[in-house]
Symmetry: C2
Subunit: 203 residues, 2 copies
């Protein structure tokens, strides 16, 4: 990869993380990277492409952090994954909030694809951590719901910050167990899964 | 309101509900409404404005449907509200899926605001149905999570359709109860709320 391009993306990500995208200009990114405006245009053509590149980079960073293998059973790994997720949310606060509240200009649907890709990879990671091969419909809906809950909780936390972050993370783990209990009434396989998960969290 | 404009919006909503926005042209909308291309431009200036107007109309329609007073206690009202929500999802399938997967062109963030407005009104309706005055942080996060779950379940159902819709709706009501149980460990007020809700569903 081109190193100059990477530096521009890093500068853009830093700015898009701390400000609304409308308030970040190509000139800001150039100044922050110690580059010329012309160089930014050379690599990215415009702000939309730069935003998409920064978002891809953020998504890759989040994925790398979540993939770090935690200690313990699946629910402990879920818990430590949540801590890393909320670290990421906090570091990219303005950009995360703006993106998930609706996001800036998006012609080609690329932004939606990136966001959707993050959700799908989170889902696959959780399915893998839980040792599930092929989730049935009730479990799939449940885990997708939980991923959406985590995203929503991230937004809510940035807006209100009226709970301790650690308590919010515990609430989300409790939500996972609660959601799996609800799903177990619809799919006996989830009941078996719950039995394997719950001893693990008490060990 | 201008009746011709309303007819164009209705035609646009019908098309945007059944097709991806990229596949709907101004000419399609004009033809479907028996209007000229010039008239569409006269009222809306372009496809983006027409899309936003159609989306606002869909959001108002969804809200009107959800506000219909159901019978019974809060959980029964939740259940009948879910049926009306999924009717709406089904009738606007392509548009709903495209919008929530990331959505089409959106310069001003209006689309995000409309989607966010729907979520906020759903949240307020549920808070009201449950007879809660001012939800604390744990309850607020829980109810927002549930609204996100419903949206996600709507998307999942359009993609897979491998559960009965009625069963998916029951799963979501079970999720609400399960999520409130999880929240009750974080806020004693939610425990009291649960006690008032659960007798109601068995009556």
């Amino acid at each position: 990869m081109d190193r100059r391009r990477e530096e521009l993306i890093a500068a853009a990500l830093e700015l898009f993380s701390r400000h609304d995208a409308e308030d970040v200009s190509i000139d800001d990114v150039a100044a922050s990277a110690g580059a010329s405006r012309a160089l930014v245009y050379h690599y990215f053509g415009g702000k939309q492409e730069l935003y998409v590149a920064a978002l891809r980079s953020a998504a890759a960073e989040l994925q790398a952090r979540l993939q770090t293998q935690g200690e313990g059973g699946p629910l402990e790994q879920l818990s430590s994954g949540l801590t890393r997720y909320f670290d990421f949310v906090e570091e990219h606060a303005a950009g995360f909030a703006a993106l998930l509240r609706g996001g800036p200009a998006n012609r080609a649907g690329e932004i939606g694809e990136i966001v959707d890709g993050v959700r799908q990879r989170m889902l696959r990671m959780i399915v893998h951590q839980m040792g599930v091969d092929a989730p049935g419909p009730a479990l799939r809906v449940t885990l997708r719901s939980w991923v959406a809950s985590v995203e929503t909780a991230g937004l809510d936390w940035l807006e209100h910050r009226d709970m301790e972050r650690a308590e919010l993370e515990r609430l989300l783990v409790d939500q996972m167990v609660a959601l799996l209990r609800a799903a177990s009434g619809h799919d006996p396989g989830v009941r078996v899964l719950l039995e394997t998960l719950l001893p693990a969290v008490n060990s």
